[in-house]
């Protein structure tokens, strides 16, 4: 017996087969003349300097943590949305309390300034730093 979820599995398989078939047909007719220059990393004609696989500041670490919290909240809300009308005011108010706590969390992060994009704040030296102006 094939269930509806079985069809979704077949969807994934058909998708893989389609991409594989496209790449296979292409491999039959395309040329293949690799050389050292052609296979080098593209950097607008310059010689690439250094590797991009370094420790890299993505600048939205706290935002990503917030995303996880809200995503889990949405997963909790999905089953609630389907049944809350049958469960009555008790279910509604408990979820409202839950939402309000999360909204307070969002307001807190907002107020702390963690939703701002982490721009570099360079210190521009002033004349006073170098010269004693008291004289």
């Amino acid at each position: 017996m094939l269930t509806d979820f079985g069809i979704i599995l077949i969807f994934f398989i058909v998708g893989v087969l389609f991409v594989a078939a496209g790449l296979f047909v292409s491999s039959l007719i395309r040329p293949s003349h690799p050389n050292k220059i052609k296979n080098s990393t593209y950097e607008c004609g310059e010689e690439p300097i250094g590797s991009p696989w370094i420790k890299f500041n993505i600048r939205y670490y706290v935002v990503a943590l917030m995303f996880l919290l809200f995503e889990v909240e949405i997963v909790f809300l999905f089953p609630w949305t389907v049944v809350f009308k049958q469960l009555g005011w008790y279910a509604f108010s408990s979820m409202a309390v839950f939402m309000v706590i999360l909204v307070f969390g969002l307001a807190y992060v907002w107020g702390k300034g963690d939703l701002e994009w982490d721009k570099p704040k360079p210190y521009i030296p002033k004349l006073e730093d170098f010269v004693d102006m008291k004289d």
């Binding site: 069809i7 389609f18 496209g22 292409s26 296979n39 593209y42 991009p52 935002v63 994009w117």
Partner: protein, 350 residues
């Protein structure tokens, strides 16, 4: 209801395969039409003629492009991580294609009638970004890595407003099943959720402003989820070459490209299902309604939103990354949470 393929062939593995092939057969000509539309609408909006040489007025241009991409040499950089580099086009395409499993085309055809349709779309909607990060990182190219990181920033900011919109519709419909959501909106045009949904009386007018706001929120988030202008910063061809697909060529690039066009249809179809009645006719159940007209209305309304996406691409400039985060977290998310709680409250007192 039901599925016409099962009625014709019976509930067996052949029928299941046919059901999976139908959306694929739909995507291929649709992608060609959308590419031509992109070229011609862009040309029209910028007062050019666009492609004119292949076929009558250039209508064969997308076919020529597909043939060209098929013959292109496949270049893999020497220093790339080859397994991940080759896997990424699969993930990106499957992420777009799997969403078609729950998109109804008509009342007699939905590939998989699971009762979790909305949840499934939400789940696979963020699937493609895994492929994008995979390809961007494995390319071992600075532009690709920047594009992939920007793509993650975008998906974590716009997934949440989109999720709140899904929840609001699920709240009012009381189900996550796509066909039931559409059936709730059947009847005359004012039963569509953007016009307040099927309930009558004065409370309908209380619903309308919240649904209109949610509609706009989802329209903006859907542009971000498909990496379309004004949110095409992961690709940003004027600053980071081509973003995450800088190193891809030939058929692998074509798969990224096709996934983007398939995603455009997916989000347009979701807008239509959630707010504009899906396959139901705007004239009510008596005129131009039925399974065959359903295909016309569903695809026609979705194509209108594909057109809107193309239109916006040639109209708006690209946002900066910090502006993107500002819009996602400080405008769309509070708005969508407020609308969701208001709609839940109204549904409770109704």
């Amino acid at each position: 209801m039901g599925n016409f393929v099962f009625d014709l062939i019976g509930k067996n593995i052949v029928a299941a395969l046919v059901i999976c092939i139908i959306p694929l057969v739909f995507i291929l000509p649709y992608a060609l039409i959308a590419i031509l539309g992109e070229l011609k609408i862009g040309a029209w909006m910028q007062d050019r003629v666009g492609p004119m040489r292949t076929g009558w007025k250039g209508v064969l241009q997308p076919v020529a492009e597909v043939v060209k991409l098929l013959q292109k040499e496949d270049i893999t950089p020497t220093i790339a991580n080859k397994p991940l580099f080759n896997l990424a086009p699969f993930i990106v395409f499957i992420g777009a294609f799997a969403a078609f499993a729950v998109l109804p085309f008509s009342e007699k055809f939905i590939p998989s009638g699971i009762n979790l349709g909305l949840f499934f779309v939400f789940a696979v909607g963020s699937f493609a970004v895994i492929g994008i990060v995979m390809g961007g990182w494995a390319s071992n190219n600075k532009y690709s890595l920047l594009g992939a990181m920007r793509s993650v920033a975008q998906i974590i900011s716009y997934e949440l407003p989109a999720g709140m919109v899904f929840l609001s519709i699920a709240t009012i419909a009381g189900t996550l099943d796509m066909q039931t959501i559409i059936l709730n909106q059947s009847g005359p045009i004012w039963n569509w959720y953007i016009f307040g949904g099927p309930q009558g009386g004065a409370i309908k007018f209380l619903f309308i402003p919240f649904f209109v706001i949610l509609f706009i929120v989802y329209l903006i988030s859907s542009l971000a989820e498909t990496n379309r202008t004004p949110f095409d910063i992961p690709e940003g061809e004027s600053e980071i070459v081509a973003g995450y697909h800088t190193e891809y060529s030939g058929m692998k690039f074509a798969m990224f490209f096709m996934a983007e066009y398939a995603n455009m249809y997916v989000v347009s179809a979701i807008i239509v299902i959630l707010f504009l009645g899906g396959w139901s006719s705007p004239f009510g159940t008596s005129f131009m309604d039925g399974p065959i007209w359903g295909i016309f209305w569903m695809v026609g309304k979705a194509f209108f939103f594909v057109f809107v996406q193309i239109w916006l691409r040639w109209t708006l400039p690209r946002l900066r990354v910090d502006q993107l985060m500002y819009l996602g977290w400080k405008v769309l998310l509070p708005l969508s949470i407020a609308c969701f709680m208001a709609i839940a409250f109204l549904a409770m007192i109704n």
